[in-house]
Amino acid sequence: MIKVTKDLLKHLEELSKVGVSEEERAKLAESIQEILDYMKLLDEVDVSDVDIMYTPIEGSASLRKDEVRKFPSEKIVKNFPEEEKNQAKVPPILG
């Protein structure tokens, strides 16, 4: 049975890039433990002859042509958290 420890939570925070406070971590670990315990209910279901179901519209999805469309860029630029010369400014990625 899975035990939701603080270390596991910290690992999940790293993977998902979600910062969490100490206090929140304890609370989240407790509730996630309770939820995962509840999911043991599925252990009794035999799925040996069942295929995975990702979506209700299996096989019927259709794609559109890959065509460039013009978009009013000023409305996009307005939403940038930081902007310089119509470009989104971000912290350094290397280092």
Partner: protein, 460 residues
């Protein structure tokens, strides 16, 4: 009841006044755009604040999008405007639609107009409250595990989740893409059908929409004589089932029989696994879908020493507890070590539930069951997330299988409204509405308060 350009400002002011205690709206548009043509010219509609509206702030009730102004309209919004509807405001929800009470909004909780001490349900609680309190005749919600139907039940209105693939999700901020569907909420089935006629249809911007043509209005008043309805008896096994809900369900069966349909009790045993399946699949999709909120191109940014620190800080400050819980839970269930045990397993049980429902629906025109096991709880009454999750047990199956389902206001517990659900075959949405209409007609004739609310229809 369409409004003209010079009247709409007063109407918006009226909503502001009515909304003081209820707090259904995050944004009320001061000077809304009134289309000059369209069948429903000047009819106001409220839109859940996770559906994108060009030039009108769309927050998803999250701090991470608190000041986000979308550069485009969702397909449904575009279609509503073309049909003449006025986008009057954006309604409150649980942050990113994750919750069943609207208490998880990052800004404020919405109150139930029937009893201000109680939740309106959620996540489309703002839309439900706005309709129930007669602020607007119709509203749009979104439904991933019951988020249209459950608040409709708690506030005594009609709320419809269409067949998956019938309404475009383009511009609906994605929560769980294989389950999400937009749908209307209103006080009459006719209004539900009218809005469906406007918003349904294939959209090249959403590859999961299907090219089917449904006339929602043609057979709406034809009654249900001769239909065969399956009443799901498995609901009585549910430990949390409130006595008043159980009684109302039995009464509901009687009304349907009186209307000339044949009702047979049917067992759908796998329903008991639906909550466990849903709370693996939905958070898994959440952990992927919400990775786009990273402080880079839009929304909140909290500065950091480097890009990783910026991500962590931004997502810490921007997301509330429930959103974090689901991202972390989904990251766990998708991780390589646990993928088979949780995600794959859940997807297989999803097919089992879906197959059971499909097989039942081969025999029946529709299935019926209560919408929620209980009436609306008080604000702050339920603190434990799992208790709220378990309340979704009757609404989740329709999402897992992609079936159309409607909440019909039926019965009461004290002064609180209850709701019953009709679930139909895929793309037989019109038949689901036809059954609901027959019940609406019959129950409004009764003077025992089985449905409540006015019957103000939207007219051009």
């Amino acid at each position: 009841m369409g409004y003209k350009k010079d009247q709409i400002k007063d109407f918006a002011e009226e909503i502001k006044e009515k909304d003081k205690d209820i707090k259904a709206f995050i944004t009320i548009v001061d000077d809304p755009e009134v289309p000059e043509s369209g069948e429903y010219k000047g009819v106001p509609i409220a839109i859940k604040d996770n559906i994108i509206t060009e030039g009108i702030k769309t927050t998803c009730a999250s701090k991470i999008l608190e000041n986000y102004i979308p550069p485009f309209d969702a397909t449904v919004v575009k279609k509503l405007k073309e049909a003449g509807f006025v986008i009057i405001g954006k309604t409150n929800l649980d942050e990113f639609a994750m919750g069943s009470s609207t208490e998880r909004s990052a800004f404020f909780p919405t109150r139930n107009p029937i009893d201000l001490e109680r939740i309106p349900g959620g996540s489309s609680g703002g839309s439900a409250a706005a309709v129930a309190a007669d602020m607007v005749p119709v509203a749009l919600g979104s439904d991933t595990g019951g988020s249209i139907r459950q608040p409709s039940a708690f506030t005594g209105i009609y709320g419809f989740k269409p067949t998956y693939g019938l309404v475009s999700r383009y511009g609906l901020v994605a929560f769980a893409s294989s389950l999400d569907q937009i749908g209307p909420m209103a006080k009459t089935v006719d209004d539900i059908a009218k809005v469906m006629s406007v918003i349904a249809g294939k959209d090249e911007m959403d590859s999961t929409t299907v090219d089917v043509n449904i006339d929602f209005l043609k057979d709406l008043n034809k009654g249900i004589k001769g239909m065969k309805i399956g009443a799901i008896k498995t609901v009585f096994d549910e430990q949390g089932l409130h006595e008043d809900v159980a009684n109302a369900f039995e009464e509901f069966v009687k009304v349907i029989e009186e209307l000339g349909a044949e009702v047979e009790w049917v067992d759908v045993p796998s329903i008991k696994y639906s909550v466990a399946v849903y709370y693996i699949i939905a958070p898994s999709e959440v952990s992927s879908n919400l990775s786009r909120f990273d402080g880079v191109r839009y929304g909140l940014r909290i500065k950091g020493e480097n890009i990783k620190e910026m991500y962590m800080k931004t997502r810490n400050a921007g997301f509330g507890e429930e959103v974090k819980r689901r991202i972390l839970l989904g990251t766990f269930t998708l991780s390589a070590t646990y993928y088979e045990a949780y995600f794959s397993k859940a997807q297989k049980v999803r097919r089992k539930i879906s197959d059971e429902l499909y097989n039942s629906l081969k025999e029946f025109d529709a299935l019926i069951l209560p919408t929620v096991p209980t009436p609306a709880p008080k604000i702050g009454e339920i603190k434990d997330p799992l208790t709220y999750y378990l309340m979704d047990i009757f609404t989740i199956p329709a999402n897992l299988a992609g079936l159309p389902a409607i909440n019909v206001p039926f019965g009461k517990s004290g002064n609180l409204p209850l709701g019953m659900q009709i679930m139909g075959r895929r793309f037989e949405d019109a038949k689901v509405l036809r059954i609901a209409k027959a019940i609406q007609e019959s129950t409004t004739k009764n003077k025992d308060g089985k449905t409540h609310g006015c019957y103000r229809e939207i007219k051009s």
